[in-house]
């Protein structure tokens, strides 16, 4: 099962009711329209019309290639390979919530792809990915934290996975996953009103580190 299909399956588990509006993200590129046609859908012009309307109304979402349309189309379309339905909700619901869901799903896909690349690189470099580290990374970053910004993900010489979020002001959240819920953290946070960078480093359980991130005002790096 591909990562895309995995995300889709989770969304698919939700009950569908009535005349709700659905948002899906096009996860592939290039030949998607061909694939829809190949699936015998013949909804090409309708989709293009919907995309045009939606993009004009919500330009920020346009970059994510968001489509929106009505219930009957969704089941068929979302079943096509390469499509991921993020969430469905009533038309009246805030579009920012949809954008956030889309961003989180997109980040999740980016993270999964990077993990896959890291595994391949590790083999090529004669390194190993520590299982306990990757399990924690998947559990806490992908499962619990659900970041809206994709961190830089690196593999350390000890086999541990490290995630790093940073901004243009020199602030950062660096988390090395050491297994059993332990994290080695390196936080650079701007102080006010001094505007200098304060460094916090150490090893703690993930819950305590997340609390530190919140108190340091660094949460925006992860969820902006």
């Amino acid at each position: 099962m591909t990562d895309s299909a995995s995300v889709f399956s989770e969304a698919e588990a939700r009950p569908m009711t009535g005349r709700s509006r659905h948002f899906i993200r096009r996860s592939g590129s290039g030949q998607d329209n061909d694939r829809w046609d190949a699936a015998g859908l013949n909804l090409h012009s309708k989709l293009l019309h919907e995309v045009k309307d939606f993009n004009e109304y919500h330009p920020a979402v346009c970059s994510h290639a968001v489509l929106s349309f009505w219930d009957a189309s969704v089941d068929v379309l979302a079943g096509s390979q390469g499509l991921v339905r993020i969430q469905y909700m009533d038309v009246a619901e805030d579009v920012h919530a949809v954008e956030r869901e889309i961003a989180i799903a997109s980040v999740k896909q980016g993270i999964l792809q990077r993990l896959k690349d890291l595994h391949e690189a590790a083999i090529d470099e004669g390194m190993r990915v520590a299982t306990a580290s990757e399990v924690d990374f998947r559990r806490y970053v992908i499962g619990d934290m659900k970041p809206a910004v994709r961190p830089a993900i690196t593999l350390l010489e000890n086999g541990n996975v490290r995630a790093l979020w940073r901004d243009s002001f020199g602030q950062q959240v660096g988390l090395q996953f050491r297994g059993d819920g332990w994290v080695q953290y390196v936080l650079f946070a701007k102080t006010y009103p001094e505007r200098s960078i304060e460094t916090s480093v150490g090893r703690k359980k993930i819950a305590a580190v997340l609390d530190m991130i919140e108190k340091s005002g660094l949460k925006n790096l992860i969820y902006a």
């Binding site: 990077r114 690349d117 890291l118 690189a121 590790a122 090529d124 470099e125 390194m127 994709r150 830089a152 993900i153 690196t154 593999l155 350390l156 010489e157 000890n158 490290r162 790093l164 020199g170 950062q172 660096g174 090395q176 080695q184 953290y185 390196v186 650079f188 960078i197 304060e198 460094t199 480093v201 150490g202 090893r203």
Partner: protein, 157 residues
């Protein structure tokens, strides 16, 4: 001229594996190192002392001296000596570490047994923590913040 400090205005190259490169940036993991002896440091190459007149020629010469396996997916990070020293010092001061970072020339002789040619460009960043401590990781991140750019480790041409 072993152990001579490099001028602050000069530049060093650091070899980077793909596991330490993400989001189009060289990450702190690229500066991980483990001390083998008391005089050891973070291995790098001194660009200005390399043979050649242009930057590309100097980088090509450094490529020709390599002792590790460099692959197409690898990069060479370019850093300014003065910036590395200042960033490492600033970070270590913040952490309460009393080390004095420096970048010194450490030319390597030829080793016929290993089929290695001499590498007169080799240099070391010394006076920084090594291994896997949180303090070391913070210093590596600070050094990564000094990366001015990168080039492919191997020249396709």
């Amino acid at each position: 001229m072993t152990n001579v400090p490099l001028p602050d205005a000069d530049h060093i190259l650091r070899h980077v594996k793909p596991t330490a490169f993400d989001n189009n940036r060289v990450q702190g993991a690229a500066f991980e190192w483990r001390r083998k002896n008391a005089n050891d440091g973070l291995s790098c190459n001194w660009m200005e002392i390399s043979e050649g007149t242009t930057r590309d020629e100097k980088i090509e010469y450094i490529r020709s001296r390599r002792r590790l396996i460099w692959k197409k997916s690898h990069k060479l990070a370019i850093l300014n000596v003065g910036s590395v020293k200042a960033a490492a010092k600033r970070q270590m001061d913040a952490l309460g570490l009393t080390l004095s970072p420096d970048v010194i020339h450490d030319p390597l002789g030829a080793d016929a047994g290993q089929a290695w040619v001499a590498d007169p460009t080799h240099a070391l960043v010394i006076g920084i923590p090594d291994s896997d401590s949180p303090q070391a990781e913070a210093v590596f991140d600070a050094i990564a913040g000094c990366v001015q750019g990168y080039v492919a480790a191997l020249n396709d041409a």
